[in-house]
C-alpha cells in the first residue's frame, strides 16, 4: 500500500518526462519533413541545388550555434572582466591571463594537468596492450571473461567510480580502517594514511589517475585487441621461422602493425584527460593540490562568479588542444586521399 502511494507521487515527474520526450522527438522529425517540403516547393533547379542543405543545415546550425559561436564568445570573454555588482563587461586585455599565471595555485593546476597528460594516456595504452596481448595467448573462454571484467568500467560513470574507489582510499582517524588501502597498511604495522591529502611526490594526484586508468584501459584493450587480431598470421609465422623470440616478434613485427591504432587510442584518452573534471571534482574537489583545469574552470565560474577567468582557463585548454585538432584534420585528409 505504502509503496503504491510512493510510486504515484512520481507520476507527475514521469508524465512530464514522457511528454517532453515525445514532443521533442516529434518536433525534430517535423523539422526535417518541413525543410524537405519547403525545398520541394521551389522550382526544380533551385530545389535540387538546395536539397543537400535540407539534410545538413540543421546540423550546421546546431554545431554553429551551440559549439562554434559560443567558443568564439568564450575567447572574447577571456579578455573581459565582468563586474560582480553591475554585471557590466569591460575589456581588460590579458589581465585574466596575467592574474592566472601570477597565481602559484594556478601553476600547480597547470602542472597537475601536465602530469595527467604524461601519465594516464601512456599507462592506459601500455596496460591495454599488455592485456590484449596476454589474453590473445589464452583460450577463448578465459579471454572473454578477462576482457569483460576489464571492459566493464567503461559503463560506469565517473561519479560512481569515485564512490567505488572511496572504499579503497578512505581514511578513518580511529582504529578500524574500512578503506582497503589503509587496512593493508595497518595490518602490516604501519600507520593509516589520509591518502587523498598526501601531496608528497604528488601521491594523491597519482591515486586519482589510477581511477581514470582503471576506467580507460578497457577501451584501449578492446581497440588494440582488435588490431592485434587483424595482424596477418604469416608475418608472425615468418618471424618465428627465422628464429625470432617472442619478445622480438612482438616489438619488431606486431607493434609496428598496430601503431596507428595505438596512436588513435592514445589521442582519444589524451583529449579525455586534458578536460578531466568529474573524478577530481568528486574525490577532492580540487583541494590538496590536485586541482586541474576542468575543475578550476567550474569553480571560477560557479563559485567565484568570475566569467573572465573561467573563460581564460578554457582558452588555455583549447590552445593545448589545437595541435591535436590539426593532426586530426590532416590524418582525415590523408585517409580520404586513399579512398
Amino acid at each position: 500500500m505504502d509503496e503504491q502511494q510512493d510510486l504515484s507521487t512520481y507520476l507527475p515527474d514521469l508524465g512530464f518526462a514522457l511528454t517532453s520526450i515525445v514532443l521533442g522527438v516529434l518536433a525534430s522529425i517535423f523539422l526535417y519533413w518541413l525543410l524537405n517540403f519547403l525545398v520541394n516547393l521551389l522550382p526544380r533547379r533551385a530545389a535540387s541545388a538546395l536539397q543537400p542543405y535540407a539534410f545538413i543545415a540543421p546540423v550546421l546550425a546546431l554545431v554553429g550555434g551551440f559549439l562554434v559561436w559560443p567558443t568564439i564568445q568564450t575567447m572574447y570573454l577571456s579578455f573581459t572582466t565582468t563586474s560582480q555588482d553591475t554585471g557590466e563587461q569591460t575589456f581588460t586585455g590579458f589581465d585574466n591571463f596575467a592574474s592566472l599565471f601570477g597565481d602559484p595555485d594556478f601553476i600547480t593546476t597547470l602542472s597537475n594537468n601536465l602530469l595527467w597528460i604524461l601519465v594516464v594516456p601512456l599507462a592506459s595504452v601500455v596496460l591495454g596492450l599488455l592485456i590484449a596481448t596476454v589474453s590473445n595467448n589464452v583460450g577463448p573462454i578465459r579471454e572473454k571473461v578477462a576482457k569483460s571484467i576489464i571492459f566493464l568500467p567503461m559503463a560506469i560513470s565517473f561519479v560512481a567510480a569515485s564512490t567505488m574507489w572511496r572504499f579503497l582510499y578512505h581514511y578513518d582517524a580511529g582504529n578500524t580502517q574500512i578503506g582497503l588501502l589503509n587496512a593493508v597498511v595497518t595490518s602490516l604495522g604501519g600507520d593509516a594514511v589520509p591518502w587523498l591529502q598526501v601531496t608528497n611526490f604528488k601521491l594523491n594526484d597519482l591515486l586519482l589517475m589510477v581511477i581514470v586508468i582503471w576506467l580507460n584501459t578497457g577501451f584501449a584493450m578492446v581497440l588494440l585487441s582488435a588490431a592485434i587480431k587483424a595482424v596477418p598470421e604469416e608475418t608472425v609465422e615468418a618471424a618465428s621461422i627465422d628464429g625470432a623470440t617472442g619478445r622480438q616478434t612482438f616489438f619488431k613485427i606486431v607493434l609496428p602493425q598496430i601503431r596507428a591504432t595505438a596512436v588513435s587510442v592514445f589521442i582519444t584518452v589524451l583529449i579525455a584527460v586534458m578536460k578531466i573534471f568529474d573524478v577530481v571534482y568528486a574525490m577532492t574537489g580540487g583541494n590538496y593540490e590536485t586541482n586541474v583545469l576542468g575543475v578550476a574552470f567550474i569553480k571560477n565560474y560557479f563559485e567565484f562568479g568570475d566569467t573572465g577567468k573561467a573563460s581564460a582557463i578554457v582558452v588555455l585548454l583549447m590552445l593545448a588542444i589545437i595541435p591535436i585538432m590539426i593532426y586530426q584534420v590532416r590524418s582525415y585528409r590523408k585517409q580520404e586521399e586513399l579512398r
Binding site: 540543421p58 578465459r142 560512481a160 564512490t163 582488435a226
Partner: protein, 312 residues
C-alpha cells in the same frame, strides 16, 4: 620421464604464465566493484565498523540485508533522479542520431559546394572540449528565458489558449530537459556525423542510384533505404551516446538543474556518507543498473562502434 614431459606440454598448453598475469589483473580490476557490491548489502553498523572484505572472509556470520536499498531509494530522491536521467538520456540519444544521420547522408550521397570544407570543420570540432562553449550557451539560454518570460508577462493573451500553460509558472528552458538535449546533441554531433558517414561510405551507391532512377526522392531514399541499411552503425552510436549521457555529470549539473539526475544525486549522497557507507554503495549500484545492462546486453554493437571511429 614421458609423464613429466606430457605434464610440461599440458602446462604449456594451459598457458600458465599468461593466465596468471591475466588473473592478477582481473582481481585488481574487480576490487573496486566488489567493494561496492558487498557494502551495498551490509547493515549500517557493520559498514561503519569493519571493512567490506571482512564480510567476504566470513560470509555466514555476516548480517546480509536489503535495507540499504529500500532506505536509499525512499529517502534520497533516487527514483525521481532515475526518471530525470532517462528523460535526459533517451532524447539526447535519439535526437543527435537523427540529426547526424541526415547530415551524414547529405555528406555521403549528395554533392554540393564546400562539402569537403564543412566536413573538415566537423572533424576538427570533434576534439573541442565542451567547456569551451559552456558559459556562452548558458548565457544564451538565460537570455532566451528572460525574453520569453517578458513576453508571457506582457502579453499573456498569446499563451492563454495553450493547454497546461500557467502564468504563475512561465515557460523557460534553463534547468529543464530541453536545454540538456540541445547541449548534448550539439556536443555529440561531430563524432556522430563522422561515425555515421564512415559507415554510409561503405553502402552500395548503385542501389541508391537505382532508386533515384525509379523516381524516389532523396528524402524517401533516406527513410526507406539508407536508415534500414545503417542500423548497425546507428545502434553502436546509440549505445555509446546513451552511456555517455547517462553517466554525464557536467552538462546535467549546469543545464538540467531543475531535475537532479542520478550522478548529481549520487554525488550529494557521497557528501553525506556519515549517514552510512552502505547507503552510498546501494545508491551507486542503483545508478549502475541501466548502463551495465545496456553494456552487457549490447556489448557486441558497442565494441563495433568503438572500433569504427574513436574520438570523444
Amino acid at each position: 620421464m614421458s609423464r613429466t614431459h606430457s605434464f610440461a606440454t599440458k602446462l604449456k598448453k594451459f598457458r600458465l604464465g599468461s593466465s596468471l598475469v591475466l588473473l592478477a589483473l582481473m582481481v585488481f580490476w574487480s576490487i573496486p566493484t566488489l567493494g561496492l557490491l558487498v557494502t551495498a548489502f551490509r547493515s549500517k553498523d557493520e559498514a561503519f565498523n569493519s571493512g567490506w572484505w571482512t564480510a567476504l572472509a566470513s560470509p555466514f556470520t555476516q548480517d546480509w540485508t536489503l535495507e540499504p536499498f529500500s532506505e536509499a531509494l525512499s529517502a534520497n530522491g533516487l527514483v525521481p533522479s532515475f526518471i530525470a536521467t532517462a528523460a535526459v538520456a533517451i532524447p539526447a540519444t535519439i535526437l543527435p542520431i537523427m540529426f547526424a544521420a541526415f547530415a551524414a547522408y547529405g555528406f555521403t550521397f549528395l554533392n554540393f559546394k564546400g562539402k569537403e570544407f564543412w566536413f573538415s570543420i566537423i572533424i576538427g570540432l570533434m576534439v573541442v572540449p565542451m567547456q569551451a562553449a559552456l558559459v556562452p550557451v548558458l548565457q544564451l539560454f538565460v537570455g532566451f528565458d528572460s525574453w520569453l518570460g517578458d513576453l508571457q508577462f506582457n502579453s499573456p493573451e498569446l499563451f492563454r489558449w495553450v493547454p497546461f500553460w500557467d502564468e504563475n509558472y512561465p515557460w523557460h528552458i534553463t534547468g529543464e530537459y530541453v536545454s540538456g538535449w540541445i547541449v548534448h546533441s550539439a556536443f555529440a554531433m561531430p563524432l556522430a556525423v563522422y561515425i555515421l558517414r564512415n559507415y554510409m561510405m561503405t553502402l552500395p551507391t548503385a542501389l541508391i542510384e537505382a532508386a533515384r532512377v525509379d523516381g524516389a526522392s532523396y528524402y524517401q531514399i533516406f527513410w526507406k533505404l539508407v536508415i534500414p541499411m545503417s542500423v548497425p552503425a546507428l545502434a553502436s552510436f546509440a549505445i555509446f551516446q546513451f552511456l555517455w549521457v547517462w553517466n554525464d555529470y557536467l552538462v546535467a549539473f549546469v543545464f538540467v538543474g531543475n531535475h537532479p539526475v542520478l550522478t548529481y544525486t549520487l554525488l550529494s549522497m557521497l557528501g553525506q556518507y556519515s549517514q552510512g557507507w552502505q547507503l552510498v554503495a546501494a545508491g551507486s549500484l542503483f545508478t549502475l543498473i541501466v548502463p551495465v545492462v545496456v553494456f552487457f546486453g549490447l556489448q557486441r554493437y558497442f565494441v563495433r562502434g568503438l572500433t569504427s571511429g574513436s574520438v570523444k
